[in-house]
Subunit: 289 residues, 2 copies
């Protein structure tokens, strides 16, 4: 901003935003909101208001200081009536409470679905009619507490990776001899246990388990008359089959990692030999020993 | 790595990881995995495997190159049996499908809660017994489609901020004269419409509306025998009362923003005068005109 040399004694007001002087707009309201002297002392009230609006877009409603001398502008508002004051209070309270209420809605949604899932599972396990009659006779409080624990227990149960313990025990007691020859190396832990981190897989596996147990029960244990017996046996059978396959699979993965081999660079060299990588699988039989 | 000058002719193998030579460990397996010549040509198979494990911790399973010549190491694995192969395929498929299944679980949870909420709302609006009998007689498919639309419609309805339109219309047709004197300024749009962004407030307000309508109906319209009539009238009454208060509140907020005033810096200056900010409210009456 160019500041005219004649400042003191008869200072003509001069707005540092629009550069207009007192003579150019006689009616305009002037304000000197800060400790600035000289050519940045005066500003139009309306120019400062506009400038303040722009500033407060960023720090909505916070204090604004003079960019030159740093004085905080003193902004006053007309007094609120008691109704407006209480409405503002109500508005603020609602704004403060509503996030917690929304969390409550989400928790309620999850809880209610867990109750429903629990009820459906009970009917699936003991049979539709018997399940209904059991739940009708039971204490409602017990149902509201007990039914949601069913999916929780299923998920917690799914988080026990018992197959891994068996694989680890197997490794410990089989020693370092596998198929009679010394093991090349022990692979890093992380490479084999990556799937534990999948939340979605744990959740889905846990929630689908009763249906699978019921299905396996109906397929393998038809001669049992009771739906409960069939489902429990089906669940145990499924767990055993799946566990066995998983232990076998993990053990094979472990062996594959253990017997990984890095090949010599093909000595004939040149570009033609570098394509030989596609025959890696075949080369291995000769190369691995 | 210090590389001995004698390299060609009778090159003694020399591992560039553990610095051991051929004579130090006669049984160790050697590999020259890349185009490197000289002292970085040879490495122990076991040393390279360890080094590879460290590298693959970061880019799990990806290709690894020689840090010197950039040749990609050729890593081979023993061939998998058909069972392991298919197990791996199943494992990968489950890992790929489970995120979608988990999304399905979440959607199902929300859907089921919406159905339940819809059913509770129907019973709240038309009365418990009548609601139950209506839903028992209705087509199940219609219920499964119709009931979840109730909370959806409530939320969509809550998103229509009709009070704002009224406030805006009021401003447009009242012109720039408010209470007989010209308006100081027009506040920025953003400062008054901030609460629209609150998702939690919209959600909670929408979901609590039927309960509030039912309550207001029971309080104000006791003489109506039908629960449906009471609730509908209660809802309308609540919307009108709330809307009127909101329009009034927004209008007052608008006026407060419009008549914001920035004060002159107290001329007596010095530190003592700067505390005068606490009396801003009182000063305004004299200062605002």
């Amino acid at each position: 901003m160019a500041c005219p040399a004649v400042v003191e004694e008869v200072p003509e007001k001069h707005c540092w935003v629009c550069f207009a002087t007192e003579r150019e707009d006689v009616l305009a309201e002037w304000v000197n909101p800060c400790r600035c002297k000289g050519c940045t002392k005066w500003i139009h009230q309306s120019c400062l208001q506009r400038w303040l609006d722009e500033k407060q877009k960023v720090n909505s409603g916070g204090p604004v200081n003079c960019p030159q001398c740093g004085t905080e502008y003193r902004i006053v508002f007309p007094k609120m009536g008691p109704l407006v004051y209480s409405l503002q209070h109500v508005d603020k309270t609602i704004s403060r409470v509503s996030p917690f209420a929304a969390v409550g809605v989400v928790v309620g949604t999850v809880y209610w679905s867990a109750v429903t899932y629990g009820a459906v599972t009970v009917m699936q396990v003991v049979g539709h009619k018997k399940g209904l009659s059991i739940m009708e006779r039971a204490d409602p409080l017990f149902l509201l507490m007990g039914l949601p624990t069913i999916p929780v227990m299923l998920v917690l149960g799914k988080m026990i990776h018992w197959e891994d313990y068996i694989v680890r025990l197997w490794h410990r007691y089989s020693g370092l001899q596998i198929r009679g020859r010394p093991m090349r190396r022990v692979p890093l832990e992380g490479t084999l246990t990556r799937d534990h981190l999948s939340v979605s897989r744990t959740l889905c596996g846990a929630l689908i388990f009763p249906s699978v147990a019921s299905l396996v029960g109906r397929l393998l244990f038809q001669r049992f008359p009771s739906s409960l017996q069939r489902t429990v046996l089906g669940g145990i059978a499924f767990l055993l089959i799946k566990g066995t396959l998983k232990v076998y699979f993990k053990q094979q993965q472990y062996l594959i990692q253990t017997n990984r081999q890095i090949l010599n660079y093909p000595e004939g060299n040149g570009e033609s030999e570098r394509d030989g990588g596609s025959q890696r699988g075949e080369e291995y039989a000769e190369d691995s020993e």
